[in-house]
Each structure stands twice: as structure tokens, then as C-alpha cells.
């Protein structure tokens, strides 16, 4: 019932998924998808062989390495700009100036304006610039390609997975809708109290300031979050809680740079969902789910590329929408 609602409106369906709704049962398939799914019937043995083969295959980390290089590079640029005084990027991730031009984190700026009840021109310049950037590059690409917490959380996740495989810890999923609730409540609190309470606990701001200005007590809070993710809920902050991630996700709903899924070669063995930070966006890779032979991965995707690296059949790829048409 709910599935038919999502068909023909898969874009809105994807947005609803980002806001916390569970991925819906698929609606009617396109003819091409019907044929592709049909071809896969009775190919269970082939998939079993593929999975066996995967175990012995060396892991690919092409995109992860590129991404880590960019993430560390961007954050180092902030540090070096201050310590070596090259003044390319002044400030930190909440607000900065790049060669004199204002940049500002969108949700942080929004909170400040709500708290202040005043629209600062520089902030508007900063947040519009940043919004344009991530509207093009793809919203939550900020998370995986820039955010320093993301990197630490990735390492914490490895630890969590290692411990979970040995039965020492267990993942406890949270309902993703809580992120929207927090987004609204933090904004309401800023408006009512006049204080940007979220920024006190914002691990991105804390880490970014630590990277630029040196370590602080506040890092204890970041550590606490990481420990929580290791022992209780995998990737809890990025997956279920962070209002900054949600903001960038919303900004990048129609971003041209995205991960695209191709049904034809997919073995549906699920390697991609295992590595994904936000696996609900990859529900379309489950056998029988895809309604078309080519589908965009939803806006909650951070474009981290782990699935692109992990996919044994190259069914998940980066793509710039419209670029093919241009070339």
C-alpha cells in the first residue's frame, strides 16, 4: 500500500527516507527492470560462487584513500593557514574565510541568526556560498569528504565491527527520525533561549577548533560519542543524530554528483550495504527492489565511495548527472 505511494515519486520517497521513514516496498518496475530481474532468476549458484570468491579477493580502497587525502588536506589547510600564516583559509569549519571570501556552516549560521534574531550579511554570504557548493557537489559529501568527525567515526566503526564480529558488542539501531526532531528542537531552543546550545555539543566544531587552535577539554565529549558508537550504536552520530549532516543532505537533494546504481550486473550479494554509513540509501540494491535499471542513490548518501570500492560487479559508480549529455 505504502509502496504504491512511493512509485513515480521516488525522489520524494528518497527525501522521506532521509527524514527517517523506513525505505518503502518498491512499486511497479520499468520494463527494462522487469527483464533485468527476470534474467537473474535461478542464478543463486553464481552468486554463491561470487561471494566465495570475494572472501579471497584483496579489498579495494581507491575512493576511500582519495577521500581521506582530501579530508585530511582540507583540515590541514585550516591548521597551516593559522600556524604558518599562509592565510588561505582562516577560521574553522563553523565559519571561515577562504582567500578573504566568507564561508559559513549552514546549520550553525541558521542557529546563530535564530539566537540573535538578526541576519548578519557576512553570514548570509557565507551560507549561500556553502549551500551552492554542496548543492552542486552533493550535500552530504561534506560529511565524508570534509568533516573531521566522520574520519574518527569511520575508525570507531572499524573497531565496532571488529568487536561485533567477535560478539563482544552489538549494534543497536536508532530510529532515524530522531535527527529531524533534534534539528527542529535545537533550532527552537536557539530561538527561545537566545543561545546556540547545539554548538556547545557540536563535535564537528569542537574537532575543527582543536585541529586549528589546539586540543581542548571539549574533546572529552567527542571521545564519549566515539565510545558510545563503538560499544552501543554503530555510527550513531552521523547516521541518526547530526543536524548538520541532515542540513547538507537537504541542500544536496538534487545534486548532480552522486552515486548511481545499475541493476544489470548486480549480484545482490550486499557487500555495499555492509560498508555503508547510511545503508537505508542502498535498499535499492536488495534483490527485487530496484524499479529501474539505473537509479540514483538517495540524498542521505554521503558520497563516501565505500560502496563503489566494495562492489564486486561495478554496479555502483560515481556519476555527474547531465555530464554525459554534455560530452
Amino acid at each position: 500500500m505504502a509502496g504504491s505511494e512511493a512509485t513515480g515519486m521516488s525522489f520524494l520517497g528518497d527525501v522521506a527516507t532521509m527524514l527517517g521513514r523506513a525505505p518503502q516496498k518498491p512499486g511497479p518496475r520499468s520494463d527494462a527492470a522487469e527483464i533485468a530481474h527476470g534474467r537473474k532468476r535461478g542464478k543463486g549458484m553464481e552468486v554463491a560462487r561470487l561471494i566465495e570468491e570475494l572472501a579471497s579477493r584483496p579489498k579495494v580502497h581507491t575512493w576511500r584513500n582519495r577521500r581521506w587525502a582530501v579530508l585530511i588536506g582540507v583540515n590541514l589547510l585550516f591548521t597551516l593557514s593559522y600556524w604558518v600564516d599562509v592565510q588561505l583559509v582562516e577560521g574553522s569549519l563553523t565559519a571561515s574565510r577562504v582567500v578573504g571570501f566568507h564561508l559559513a556552516d549552514v546549520y550553525s549560521s541558521f542557529l546563530v541568526m535564530l539566537a540573535q534574531k538578526h541576519v548578519a550579511v557576512n553570514l548570509v554570504i557565507g551560507l549561500v556560498t556553502v549551500s551552492l557548493l554542496w548543492a552542486l557537489v552533493g550535500g552530504r559529501a561534506y560529511c565524508s569528504w570534509v568533516c573531521p568527525y566522520h574520519l574518527l567515526a569511520e575508525w570507531a566503526e572499524s573497531l565496532h565491527s571488529w568487536l561485533a564480529a567477535r560478539g563482544i558488542v552489538q549494534d543497536h539501531p536508532l530510529h532515524r527520525g530522531v535527527r529531524v526532531v533534534l534539528w527542529v528542537v535545537f533550532a527552537a531552543l536557539a530561538l527561545v533561549t537566545g543561545h546556540t546550545l547545539f554548538l556547545t555539543l557540536n563535535p564537528i566544531g569542537i574537532l575543527s577548533r582543536a585541529v586549528v587552535y589546539g586540543p581542548s577539554l571539549a574533546l572529552a565529549w567527542v571521545l564519549l560519542l566515539l565510545v558510545f558508537e563503538v560499544v552501543y550504536a554503530r555510527r550513531a552520530w552521523c547516521r541518526y543524530l547530526c543536524p548538520i549532516g541532515l542540513t547538507y543532505g537537504a541542500i544536496g537533494v538534487a545534486a548532480p554528483w552522486r552515486v548511481v546504481y545499475q541493476l544489470d550486473a548486480c549480484a545482490h550479494e550486499g557487500e555495499c550495504r555492509k560498508v555503508c554509513e547510511v545503508p537505508h540509501v542502498l535498499d535499492l540494491t536488495i534483490r527485487g527492489r530496484a524499479t529501474d535499471v539505473r537509479m540514483d542513490v538517495g540524498p542521505d548518501c554521503t558520497r563516501c565511495g565505500l560502496c563503489v570500492d566494495a562492489c564486486p560487479t561495478e554496479s555502483l559508480r560515481y556519476e555527474v548527472k547531465g555530464l554525459d549529455a554534455l560530452l
Binding site: R97, H175, L199, R209
Partner: protein, 263 residues
């Protein structure tokens, strides 16, 4: 708890929960974690509510409550200050975390940027862009807190470096370099009567001056520092005072009042 819970985890077959039960639990957990995050928020109010520390803020700071709310905690003011007077507060100051302050005794704002760079750098206006000159700044007000220790009040001179050889603070001495501050320890003094606070005040006579002690004889060499209405609260006097602790300190956000007029 059933006895089976006592067995090692590895061997315990995990109970398959129904989809509905999984969903119910995920909502419960989300509610709980969300509530914990929100309940942590009032803690951020504590340091501010208790006014544990009245911090000296950079020039142009809005009034404290509005300033804390308007600051986006980016630290651009820290980066532009030529004497690195500005620091960022830590988590023990609640939602003042990441908000700039000045520890004047360690490094005062000596306006060696000439342009109120921190105000220009502030993207949110938490440091008010309405201020155009250093004379308009009102960070606080200097006050002689240890009159008995003050060398001028005792009629004593001062010889040597003001804060000792280990002091890292810097100050701009126009006679040496109009454009750049140098370490205070590289500028020894030889003064018959200590007037360091007055001498180095970047504002001048109407902010801080030496006056004869009230009722003293004409030939009495003793003088007392008097804070005037032009004091901007930059803290240079507090930084340069050679006594330990400083005889003169800036009280954050205090406004000047005519001492001859009852408040």
C-alpha cells in the same frame, strides 16, 4: 533475567525480533538518546548562570548574553590578532565553549592592528561592526585593586624588564617599531617613578593618568593611577604592571562612572 543470559554471549543464539519489535525498540532508543542530548543542554547554562568567570571579551563584544548567542565559535578573531591576545574558551564554560576571551595579564590587546581586526574578522557581528575606532571600545574598566602594592603610590621607581625574562607577552612600542609589537622582555625600563601603566596606555591621559595622592604635600613624590572615562578596558595596564599579582586590573564590562558623582 533468565539463566540463559548468564551463558557466554558467543554461544547464545540471538533471538530474532519481529520487524515491529525492532522498530519499537529503535524508536525507544532514539527517544532515549535524543532526550539525553537535550537534557545535557541545561548543563551548558550552569557556568554562565553562576557567573563563575566574567571574561574580558575582545573589542566590540555585544553584551554578554547576546554575545554568547551571536558568536559562531569559528575563531577568526583569534587568527587575525597580531599579538595573539585572543583565546577560545573551553567546555568548562558551558555554551561559552569556543567563544573568544582575552587574558589581559598574559597578553593584552594593545591595538597594534590599528584597525580593530578582530571586529572586521567577525562574521556574525558578535563583535559589533558599529565600532570604528579603538577609542569607542569598552571592554571593561581598569581599577587599582592593590593600591598598597603600587610602586607609584609608594613613590618607587622601576628598573629592568617589566614582567621578568620569562614573560612572553608583547607590546607595541612606537619609539622602536611603529608597526609591530615586540616582546615586553626586550624592552627594559629605568624610571625614577614607576608609571608603566600610564606610560604604556594606548589611549592616553583621559583613560589613565597619575595624580598626587589626595591631601599630600606639594613635594610628596607619590602618585596614584586614576582611571578616566576614556578607559577602553584593553588591559595593557594590567599586563605591564611589574607587581605580582598586578596592582591594576581590568574588570570586564564595567562602565566608567564619575567618582565625584554619587552613583
Amino acid at each position: 533475567m533468565s539463566p540463559s543470559d548468564a551463558r557466554p554471549r558467543k554461544r547464545k543464539p540471538r533471538k530474532r525480533l519481529s520487524r515491529q519489535e525492532q522498530r519499537r525498540r529503535s524508536i525507544l532508543r532514539a527517544g532515549l538518546i535524543g532526550a539525553v542530548l537535550l537534557l545535557l543542554q541545561p548543563l551548558a547554562f550552569l557556568p554562565w548562570a553562576r557567573r563563575a568567570r566574567a571574561r574580558l571579551r575582545p573589542p566590540g563584544a555585544l553584551d554578554e548574553a547576546r554575545f554568547l548567542g551571536a558568536c559562531i565559535k569559528c575563531g577568526q578573531c583569534v587568527q587575525v590578532c597580531p599579538v595573539e591576545a585572543i583565546e577560545l574558551a573551553d567546555l568548562d564554560e558551558g555554551f561559552g565553549v569556543g567563544v573568544p576571551f582575552i587574558d589581559a595579564r598574559a597578553q593584552a590587546c594593545d591595538f597594534s592592528c590599528d584597525a580593530l581586526s578582530c571586529i572586521l574578522a567577525c562574521p556574525t557581528g558578535a563583535l559589533s561592526h558599529d565600532l570604528k575606532t579603538k577609542e569607542e571600545v569598552r571592554c571593561g574598566l581598569a581599577r587599582v585593586v592593590r593600591p598598597d602594592a603600587c610602586r607609584a603610590r609608594r613613590g618607587e621607581g622601576f628598573r629592568g624588564v617589566a614582567r621578568g625574562e620569562d614573560f612572553a607577552g608583547r607590546l607595541r612600542y612606537p619609539s622602536i617599531d611603529r608597526w609591530e609589537a615586540i616582546p615586553v622582555r626586550e624592552y627594559p625600563y629605568d624610571l625614577p617613578l614607576c608609571d608603566l601603566c600610564v606610560r604604556e596606555c594606548p589611549i592616553g591621559d583621559r583613560a589613565l593618568r597619575l595624580e598626587p595622592l589626595p591631601g599630600a604635600a606639594d613635594d610628596d613624590p607619590r602618585r596614584t593611577p586614576v582611571v578616566g572615562e576614556d578607559c577602553v578596558g584593553c588591559g595593557v595596564c594590567e599586563m605591564i604592571c611589574p607587581e605580582e599579582p598586578s596592582c591594576i586590573v581590568v574588570e570586564a564590562r564595567v562602565q566608567w562612572q564619575d567618582p565625584r558623582r554619587p552613583a
